[in-house]
C-alpha cells in the first residue's frame, strides 16, 4: 500500500506532473540539439533548483534525462549528427532512411521502441533495486570503500580510449573532492594558504565547467557548419510493424538494462552492443544494415532508453552512478540532504518509488511529445549555434554563481572549463573527474573507518575484503 501511495505522488500532484512533462519536452530538444547534452543541462539545472524541494527538482531532472536520451536520435536521423553519444548507432541506419525520404517513418518507429525500451528498464529498476539494496545493507566501511574505487575505475576504463587517462582523471577528481578542511581532523588539505579553498571547491562549479563550458568551447570549432533541412511525413508507425520488431526490441531492451545497470557504462555502450546484437541475430533484414535497416534503429533505441532505468539501479542501491547523468543526480541528492545507497531504500522508500514513477511518466510524455510537434522541433534544431553557444555560456556563469552567490565559483567554473577543454582535445575522459569528486568523501571516510577498525593493520583489512559482501557484489558485476 505504501509503495502504491509513493508511486502515486507525481501522478496526483499536478505541479510535479507538469514539471516532468516540461522536463521531458525540454529534454527532447536538449538531447536533439548538437552542442547541448543532457549531462550539461542537468548540471546547470542543479544550480537553479538547489533551493527547491527535492521532489520538484528531481521531477524536472528525470524528465530532461528521459527526454534527452530519446532526443539524441532525432538529429542522428535528420542530420547524421547524433545529438547525444547514445544515438551514435542510430545514425548508422537512421540517416540513410532520411536520405531515402523515410525520416518520418524512422522517427515514428524510434519513438515507439524507445518507449518500450524505457518501460523495460524502469520495470527492472522497480523489481531488482529493492533486492540489491537488501543485499547491500550489510556492507561494512571497507565494502563502501571498495565500491567507491570500483565505480571510479570502471568509468575510467570505459569512458575513453585510454585506461591510464581515465585512472588519472578519477584520481584528479578524488583530489579535487579532498580540497578544504578535513571533516574529521579539521586539518587543511590542498589549501595553499588561500582562505577561499578551506570550504572546498564547489562541486557544481566543477561540473558546469567540465560539462558546460568545455563542451561549448569545443563546439566553437565547428560553429559555422550549416544546418540541413528535411521533409517529414508519416510518423505514426503501424501496429504490424511494431509487432514485427518487438522480439528484437525485447532482447535489446534486456541488453540495455543490464549494461545500463553496470556502474560506469551508459546508453552509448548499451546502444552499440545492441546494434551489434541485432546485426548478428537478424538473418534477412529488408534493407541491409548501414543502409536504412529498421532493425538498426530498433536495437540501439530500445537499449539506450532501457539503460536509463538500469543506470538508476546502482545509483539508488549502492550509491554508485550508472553513468555521467546519474553521477550528477547523486550530487543533486546530496545537495538536498539525501544519501543515495542501501539506506535510502530503508530511510526514504518514498524517494525510490517517486523516482520509479517519475521515470514511467517521463516515458509516457516522451511518447506523446515524440509523435507530435515535429515541425516546431525542426525549427528549433535549426537555431544557429552562433546564438545558442553564447546563451549556454551565460547560463553556465549564472548557474555557477547562483549556488553560493560567489564569484570564486565562477572562476573555478572557468578554470575547470578550460582544463576540460584541453583534456577533451587530448583524449582524457571527463566523467571520472566528476565521479571522483562525488565519491571522494565516500572513499576517504570509509577507508579511514575501515583501517581504524582494524587498528591500522592493512593486512587484516585486506583479508576482511576477501570475506566481505562487497566482494560477492564485485563478482556479480563481473
Amino acid at each position: 500500500m505504501d509503495i502504491l501511495s509513493n508511486l502515486l505522488i507525481p501522478i496526483v500532484n499536478l505541479d510535479l506532473l507538469m514539471l516532468i512533462a516540461v522536463g521531458t519536452f525540454a529534454g527532447i530538444y536538449v538531447g536533439a540539439i548538437p552542442g547541448l547534452s543532457v549531462t550539461m543541462a542537468v548540471s546547470i539545472l542543479i544550480s537553479f533548483t538547489f533551493s527547491w524541494e527535492v521532489y520538484p527538482a528531481l521531477a524536472l531532472m528525470i524528465g530532461i534525462y528521459m527526454g534527452g536520451v530519446y532526443g539524441g536520435s532525432r538529429t542522428a536521423i535528420l542530420l547524421n549528427i547524433p545529438g547525444a553519444p547514445s544515438a551514435i548507432a542510430t545514425a548508422l541506419d537512421g540517416f540513410p532512411m532520411a536520405q531515402h525520404g523515410r525520416a518520418g517513418e524512422a522517427i515514428g518507429i524510434v519513438t515507439v521502441v524507445s518507449f518500450i525500451g524505457g518501460f523495460i528498464g524502469i520495470f527492472a529498476l522497480g523489481a531488482f533495486a529493492p533486492l540489491l539494496s537488501d543485499f547491500a545493507i550489510g556492507f561494512q566501511p571497507r565494502d563502501f570503500m571498495l565500491l567507491a574505487i570500483m565505480g571510479i575505475l570502471l568509468v575510467g576504463s570505459l569512458s575513453g580510449d585510454s585506461l591510464v587517462k581515465g585512472i588519472f582523471a578519477g584520481a584528479l577528481g578524488i583530489g579535487v573532492g579532498a580540497v578544504g578542511m578535513d571533516p574529521l581532523t579539521i586539518q587543511d588539505r590542498f589549501v595553499f594558504g588561500i582562505s577561499e579553498l578551506r570550504g572546498g571547491i564547489s562541486f557544481v562549479a566543477v561540473m558546469i565547467g567540465l560539462f558546460g563550458v568545455s563542451e561549448a568551447l569545443i563546439q566553437l570549432h565547428s560553429i559555422h557548419t550549416p544546418a540541413v533541412r528535411q521533409k517529414i511525413t508519416g510518423i505514426i508507425p503501424s501496429w504490424s510493424k511494431v509487432r514485427k520488431h518487438l522480439p528484437l526490441g525485447l532482447q535489446t531492451s534486456t541488453i540495455g538494462t543490464i549494461v545500463g545497470a553496470l556502474p560506469g557504462t551508459g546508453g552509448d555502450i548499451a546502444a552499440l552492443m545492441a546494434y551489434d546484437h541485432a546485426k548478428r541475430v537478424t538473418r534477412n533484414p529488408e534493407t541491409p544494415f548501414g543502409k536504412g535497416a529498421i532493425e538498426g534503429l530498433v536495437a540501439p533505441e530500445t537499449a539506450n532508453n532501457a539503460a536509463v532505468g538500469g543506470a538508476f539501479i546502482p545509483m539508488l542501491t549502492l550509491g554508485i552512478p550508472g553513468d555521467a547523468v546519474t553521477a550528477i543526480m547523486i550530487g543533486a541528492l546530496f545537495i538536498h540532504g539525501l544519501n543515495p545507497g542501501p539506506m535510502l531504500m530503508i530511510e526514504q522508500p518514498d524517494m525510490f518509488w517517486f523516482i520509479v514513477s517519475s521515470l514511467a511518466l517521463a516515458n509516457v510524455f516522451m511518447l506523446i511529445f515524440g509523435l507530435t510537434g515535429i515541425r516546431l522541433f525542426v525549427r528549433i534544431v535549426e537555431l544557429p549555434r552562433t546564438v545558442l553557444l553564447p546563451v549556454i555560456m551565460v547560463l553556465s556563469i549564472v548557474g555557477a554563481y547562483a549556488v553560493n552567490n560567489s564569484l570564486t565559483d565562477v572562476y573555478w567554473m572557468l578554470g575547470f572549463g578550460v582544463l576540460g577543454y584541453f583534456m577533451r582535445l587530448y583524449g582524457y575522459p571527463l566523467a571520472p573527474i566528476i565521479l571522483g569528486v562525488i565519491l571522494s568523501r565516500l572513499l576517504d571516510d570509509n577507508w579511514r573507518r575501515a583501517i581504524i577498525s582494524e587498528r591500522e593493520d592493512f593486512g587484516a583489512m585486506m583479508m576482511g575484503i576477501f570475506t566481505s559482501r562487497c566482494r560477492c557484489a564485485c563478482s556479480w558485476r563481473w
Binding site: F48, T49, S51, S162, V164, K165, I167, F168, A171, L172, I174, G175, A178, D182, L184, T185, Q187, D188, R189, F190, F192, V213, A216, L217, L220, H221, I223, P384, T386, V387, L389, P390, V391, M393, V394, L395, I397, V398, Y401, A402, N405, L407, V410, Y411, L414, G417, V418, Y421, F422, L425, Y426, S440, L443, D444, W447, R448, I451, I452, E456, F458
Partner: protein, 166 residues
Amino acid sequence: MEPTPKRRPGELVFNIAIMLASFGLLYSAYGISGFEALSAPGAVPMATTAIMVVCAVVILRQTLRKGADTSQTMAADILPLIVIVTIAMIAAYAVLLRPLGFLPTSVLFLLVMVRFLSRRGWGFCLAVSVGTVFVIWIIFRLIFAVLMPQGIIPEGRIVSAITSLF
C-alpha cells in the same frame, strides 16, 4: 591494423604540465600529515596524487612515443582565436558581473559574442541579446528566484514592483 595515433599540437606541453602539477600536488599531500598513519588525513590525498604522478608519467611516455601530427596546427586546431576570445570574454563577464550587475553584463556579453560569432548586424545582435537576457531573467529571477548581482540597475525594486501586481 589501426594507424598509430599522432601527437596533436601542444599535447606534449599539456602532458608535461599535468605531470609537474601532479608532482606538486603529491608534495602538498605529503605535507598534510606525511606518513603519520594509514588513517591520517593525508593518506588518501597522498595515494591519489601518487596515482596521478604514475599515470602522468605513463601518459607522457606514450605521448613521446607518438609521431607529431603535421596536418594540424596549434592556431587552427587546438587554440583558435575564436576559443581564446571566448575564454577572455567569459573572464571579463565574471569580472564585470558584480560592479555592473547581471542585466547589463549579460546583454553586453551576448551582444559582443553574437556579433563576433555570427557577423550579423548590430540591430540583430542587440535584439537577440536583450530578448535572451529578458527571457533568462524572467525564468531564473522571477520563477526560480535565483539572486544575481544587482549592480547599477535597481533590480530588487523592479522585482517587487512586478510581484506587487499579482
